[in-house]
């Protein structure tokens, strides 16, 4: 493009669109809302990924295994008449064994599904439906994942009664509450292992013991726990577990249900058909996904110590860096044994979580579960913990995983410190707090 006097138009003179953020720093301010350190021209622009509770990167080692099945090994693992089928079946069974060994199960007890949501549906709907002649009651908690709560609600429509156990301010259930809630006609108890929003670990072993004593099936949603915390289905008396592949650096679209064989857990299957997967989940298996999942499971077991040490180190650094900001609070359990370090949920008082997320375009974060992040409603999990609306609104979840680097955590600490400071400098509430006014004593009048 040439200008009227014939010289070449400089890039800076053309009308290039200018990057736009909703929040603009005050004039004279040195902070940038698009990048914590730089003016954005010397470094990339893609946000740092800190949302591993939503999903994880596919590990290159997993992809390497999967590619074999997307190229040469395309046989149907259920074809028993030729070598294509046999080789696929052998690999699928190896994958099943890798998954089983993470939780101390027998490979025959692993049923492949499309993901943890399907496994949860399979459990919450399948067990009570099978035993409906004598059992009419389901126990779960208020902080379960949406798919468990929604399935439970669905079972209420089918005539079952559901008890939603409350949790304490740390997100843990009270075992006495559980004991009292169990009735003669209770079909199952479903309590998640690691919470997806705050990362608390429920006392699975104690829950399993209570369930076994009362001869009630115990299902646990292990999507966030599988491979990340020590799990043993026999020691913990777990009868059924939901597992997801894409939370452990495996492919999306595949998961599994652990279904105990002795004492046998009977399920009314949701999907009927050719009788694959012990008749509990018919349909042809997808070897690329199944074997990718198997490799991810093998790796998460093999790399357990290395990964956990790394996550623990970064988690401690992040917590120290963020909790040093005034008026912040860590949500979750204080006992390190009851808290998964890779999930750090922090409330920043006097800042709205969604505005903070908007001001943090250079970091991929979530204020709660991905499934509900489209709605601006505050998290029901934090509500169940007794948090008020304001606190629930101002919470952000940081997910640390295998591929998070220390450099990224340093960046995040700096960025959050700056942005919280900036947003608070605009908040009249923060100004009042700084002046020593107790906000709870104010009577707000509506207009």
């Amino acid at each position: 493009m040439l200008t009227t006097d014939g010289r070449k138009l400089l890039a800076s003179e053309s009308s290039l669109p200018v990057a736009n953020t909703n929040v603009i720093p005050p004039e004279g301010s040195t902070i940038s809302l698009t990048s914590a350190y730089r003016d954005g021209t010397t470094h990339g622009t893609k946000p740092i990924y800190l949302d591993v509770q939503a999903t994880t990167q596919t590990d290159p080692r997993v992809l390497d295994v999967m590619l074999r099945f997307l190229t040469g090994l395309y046989g149907n693992p259920h074809s028993s008449t030729h070598a294509y089928g046999w080789e696929a079946e052998k690999e699928v069974e190896e994958a099943r064994a890798h998954i089983a060994s993470v939780i101390g199960a027998d490979p025959k007890e692993i049923i492949f599904t499309s993901g943890a949501t399907e496994s949860n549906n399979m459990a919450i709907k399948g067990i009570p439906r099978f035993y409906k002649k004598t059992k009419k009651h389901i126990i779960t908690t208020q902080t379960e994942h949406k798919c468990v709560l929604d399935s439970a609600r669905h079972m209420q429509d089918e005539g079952f009664e559901v008890t939603y156990l409350p949790v304490n301010e740390e997100g843990l259930i009270n075992l006495e509450d559980l004991k009292k809630a169990i009735r003669k006609d209770t079909a199952m108890v479903s309590i998640m292992a690691v919470n997806n929003e705050i990362g608390v670990i429920q006392p699975l072993e104690e829950i399993g013991k209570i369930c076994r004593e009362h001869k009630v099936f115990f299902h646990t949603d292990g999507a966030q726990a599988f491979g990340k915390i020590p799990l043993d289905v026999n020691e913990m008396n777990i009868d059924m577990m939901s597992i997801s592949s894409h939370k452990i650096y495996g492919p999306k679209g595949i998961g599994a249900a652990y279904v105990r064989r002795r004492p046998r857990v009977r399920i009314d299957p949701i999907i009927s058909g050719g009788g694959q997967e012990r008749g509990l989940r018919s349909g042809t298996l997808a070897p690329p996904l199944v074997c990718g999942f198997g490799e991810a499971a093998r790796l998460i077991k093999q790399e357990s110590k290395f990964d956990n040490d790394h996550i623990e180190k970064l988690s401690t650094k992040l917590k120290n860096g963020l909790l040093s900001i005034p008026a912040t609070q860590l949500n979750g359990a204080h006992d390190p044994a009851a808290q998964y370090p890779g999930c750090v949920n922090i409330s920043f008082a006097y800042v709205e979580g969604e505005s903070l997320l908007m001001a943090l375009k250079d970091i991929a974060l979530s204020s709660g579960s991905a499934c509900t992040s489209a709605s601006l409603e505050p998290s029901y999990v934090l509500h169940a913990l007794g948090a008020d609306d304001a606190l629930a609104h101002s919470s952000i979840r940081f997910g640390i995983g295998r591929f998070t680097t220390e450099e990224e955590i340093d960046y995040v600490i700096k960025a959050i410190n700056e942005r919280v400071d900036f947003l608070r400098s605009m908040s009249p509430l923060w100004e009042m707090v700084q002046d020593g006014i107790d906000l709870d004593t104010i009577e707000w009048s509506g207009h």
Partner: protein
């Protein structure tokens, strides 16, 4: 039985680290470097020749994996992260 010399081990270590830097994806690149260093450091004092041979062979397989996966990473490239310095020639005007 053939034995592996420490020179061979060092050379493999160097080749693996070199390959790891070829990941276009920042997170995979940093992880691979960290994981390779850790792996070699952990087995530094291994003296059993049979064990050394097993470790060596498994690392050769890993080198093959790195070759394939770094090639894929270079074929499918994405924007750089905010913590990643841009190379001079792609820097904005």
């Amino acid at each position: 039985m053939t034995s592996v010399s420490s020179r061979q081990v060092l050379s493999l270590y160097k080749r693996m680290l070199e390959k790891a830097t070829k990941f276009d994806n920042y997170n995979f690149r940093e992880y691979s470097k960290r994981r390779i260093r850790h792996g070699f450091k952990q087995s530094k004092n291994e003296s059993d020749p049979a064990k050394i041979l097993t470790l060596y062979n498994s690392a050769v397989n890993d080198l093959g994996l790195l070759e394939r996966q770094t090639a894929i990473s270079q074929m499918y490239t994405f924007e750089k992260l905010v913590v990643e310095p841009l190379k001079k020639h792609v820097r904005h005007a």
